[in-house]
Amino acid sequence: MTLQEAKTYLLERARERGVELEALATGSRELSLQARERTLEEITAAERGGIGVRVVKDGKTGYAYSEELSPEALDWVLAEAIENAELQSETGGFLPEGRPLGKSDLLGEGLSAPVEEKKRMALELEEGVLRDPRVQQVGAAIYSEREFQTELASTRGAEGGYRSGYAYQMVSAVMAEGESLKQGYELKVARELFALDPASTAQEFLHRTGRLLGARDLKSGRYTAYFEPSAFLALLSAFIDLWSAKQVLEGKSRLAGRLGQKIASEAFTLYDDPNHPEGLMNAPFDAEGTPTRKVYLVREGVLESFMHNSVTARKLNAESTGHAQRSYKGVLDVGPRNLIVAPGEGVTLQDGVLITDLMGVHAGANSISGDFSLQALGLKIEGGEAAYPVENFTLSGNFFELLERIVATGRELEWSVMFLAGASPTVEVAEVAFAGA
């Protein structure tokens, strides 16, 4: 059976057995080419797909999935999901009202190119980096692409699908100058292959890692922090669950009960836009078939919304914001698509530290208390100029206090998928504690 046929089969069997069922199917394709020492060292071509069901019987919810699409396997899935539902003690489970969602293609011909072209992208990326004599060792130079087909249907009328995907280039290497060694990486992602240019990705890597060579220790103290976009997104990724209504329900978010209140500086606006023209994780509807839309989480410092699926929305007496997430193997959750820190009036570098890289983001941050202590790399800024690179320091503080100390945001958005998919401008924060040598 195809995933489409499997979906139809499961809906029919569920109707016969008198249970509500939602089927989520994903098929994915991946190609990955890794260059090493000027040949393609690793080649992986992959296809994977499966179908997962959420079943509701007498108000109890159960899950099961299969990658095998035979009638025997699908019958097993339905029987197991029902048995798993019956074990639950919680009642009140339901499937949301559905509607036809149509078919869409968000990828088009974005990844269509001869394979020779794709190989060239991996080889030229390595070559571009090796051209600089300061490069000691290239760990990886990769071209990779992914394509997804997502299908959703439910006994309550949801029905639709979409195709999406992206390509990326990634290089990691060690650079050296005198005694100073720095390992860095550069990742460029795009929905269209022609938007990736190995020469400029290599150049970007050399610039971003090269500028950190010869770093000095930073003197402990309080400085203005200028977060580069990817560094700010990395910090945000450790705390994004604060906006999850699921965390609110489990008592794990300190933002609970603060809707409509000021939680950040007026310079801070945060929204999720699943239909952004440049979005890398765009989707027309979420994992339950709720149409997606632009949702402000924070507008000019005021907490405007949490991220909801239909279950959290019902429990908190709110509306689903289209943030349901689920893989075919998993259970229902909540999460963002393209998280965007709104650009502002611009940041003017004066005196402080430009944070270029944050490390150990998840180990060094406590999303419940908001406390963080993170190792970082950066450039010391003096008189509006980059004076010298700095290393061996941590920046620490509390995320809730940091939000209030945001002074300004830059004019230009930069996209990333490293820690979470989204975009941010440079973000200036006053009075951040830095512990150095």
Binding site: E42, G52, W76
Partner: protein, 464 residues
């Protein structure tokens, strides 16, 4: 799962496109997970995973593809795509023509289940887990008990251009008890997690009441533990999961993945004395019903008992096909992978220090001041050098030959190849414990193990 004729066509197709070696791996899993918190079901999921992996060698260069569309047409297309990506000219190789002589054998069922997963319903499982919950509540300080049950039923099939045609079935069951104790000062967790290559008879072989109580008692012990002492000192490491240190800081250095690229400090040391004479280190894929056992590895080679170190002398590495090609060492049935989404690499199976002859009490006898690391926790290792730091989950101070008060926050810091030379005595109480080992080819089930043993000196990092 796969017809012999299909496998044959695929392999010949790959050979005709210039591959020196072609292998097809097919598998099907049934997985079930159940998580209970204070006996309320938090999570119950079930799934079937299935797929095929095609691996082609062009000399020592390897290309890999996987798919879960197992039709012959698709598998041929996948093989074509791989060969095209490699960009070899593609000529018919005489060795690929004229039919393959598959020499297969069926598994003997050495590790097969007595009570297969489908013979009991989920209520029965919850009742058995409830025995662990009750036993874990050894005192009022135990506030929460979490139970996690994992059931895997995996069937695999491997065919290769060297005539391999083997199937295997691996049924594995494991449960983990986590007891959380709390007083005014702190919150502590105790664990126990038995697992074997068996079915639901695990609950009889490893009684929930025993493991539940162990988890509860460990949590209570930790509640009254004092900060650990620091500095270099003699350390007695407990049996069973105590073996995790040498798994990480020695075992990984003996896999051809590291040895072939010469990134291991133990490269090119066969026949040399690398450990104290008290040490015999074995990786055994044949232990009956071992968590890391199987009849065949994921390259279709029969597993075996491989003596890695005998009385201190390095005897063998752990060798997969690629590793054998690169180093010339004989393959040891060590090619493993998490599932079809990974190409296999050389991996450990059940790896342990063999039993010695010193009575356990003797290990402690002459220690004036030291640490008894009874249960080990997690840690980190630098793969090349074997530098490690491991947390001691349950530790005690040793004073004048006696095990005294419990301590918490102890870290053992050292280098695997150095520590193995400092093992001065090995007791006669070897036990193994299950775990998951993560590496290039994903996470695979392994056992680690050892008897109680005495290391003359390890640096202990305490809290202070």
């Amino acid at each position: 799962m796969l017809q012999e004729s299909t496998a044959e066509r695929l392999i010949q197709h790959a050979r005709a496109r210039g591959a020196d070696f072609a292998e097809i791996y097919v598998e099907r899993w049934k997985k079930r997970n159940l998580r209970l918190l204070d006996l309320e079901v938090q999570e119950a999921t079930s799934g079937i995973e299935t797929g095929a992996g095609v691996r082609l060698f062009f000399g020592t260069q390897v290309v890999y593809a996987y798919t879960n569309d197992l039709s012959e047409a698709n598998l041929l297309e996948v093989t074509d795509t791989l060969a095209r990506l490699k960009g070899e000219a593609g000529q018919v190789d005489a060795r690929g023509a004229g039919g393959l002589d598959f020499r297969g054998s069926a598994p003997a069922g050495l590790h097969g289940p007595q009570l297969p997963p489908d013979e009991r319903d989920k209520r029965w499982r919850i009742e058995r887990l409830a025995e662990a919950d009750a036993a874990a509540r050894v005192g009022p300080a135990i506030k929460k008990v979490q139970l996690y049950l994992i059931e895997w039923d995996q069937e695999i099939q491997v065919a290769s251009s060297e005539g391999v045609w083997n199937t295997d079935r691996r049924v594995r069951t494991r449960y983990v008890v986590t007891a959380i104790a709390e007083n005014e000062e702190s919150m502590q967790t105790g664990f126990a997690g038995p697992g074997l290559s068996v079915g639901l008879e695990l609950f009889d072989l490893e009684p929930p009441a025993v493991h539940g109580r162990a988890a509860g008692e460990q949590a209570l012990t930790l509640l009254r533990a004092k900060p650990a002492p620091a500095g270099p000192m003699p350390v007695v490491i407990g049996n069973a999961f105590g073996g995790v240190i040498f798994h990480e800081a020695l075992g990984h250095l003996l896999e051809t993945t590291a040895v072939a690229r010469k990134t291991s400090v133990l490269t090119d040391k066969l026949g040399e004395k690398i450990a104290s004479e008290a040490v015999t280190y074995v990786d055994d894929g044949t232990l009956p019903h071992g968590w890391g056992s199987s009849e065949y590895d994921d390259e279709g080679a029969p597993t075996e008992r491989t003596v890695l170190i005998e009385k201190g002398v390095l005897k063998s590495y752990m060798v997969d096909r690629w590793g054998s090609l690169m180093t010339g060492y004989r393959p040891t049935g060590s090619g493993r992978r998490q599932d079809y989404t990974f190409a296999p690499t050389s991996r450990m199976r059940n790896t342990f220090i063999e039993t010695g002859d010193t009575p356990v009490e003797k290990l402690f006898e002459n220690i004036e001041f030291g640490l008894y690391a009874k249960k080990m926790g997690g840690g980190q290792v630098r793969p090349g050098s074997g530098e490690y730091n491991f947390a001691v989950q349950e530790g005690y101070v040793i004073r004048n030959g006696r095990v005294e008060e419990p301590v918490k926050g102890a870290m053992l810091v050292g280098k695997g190849p150095e520590s193995i030379q400092r093992i001065v005595a090995v007791a006669a109480d070897r036990k193994n414990a299950p775990g998951m080992c993560g590496s290039l080819s994903g996470a695979v089930p392994v056992e680690v193990g050892q008897p109680h043993l005495l290391i003359s000196e390890i640096v202990v990092g305490g809290e202070g």
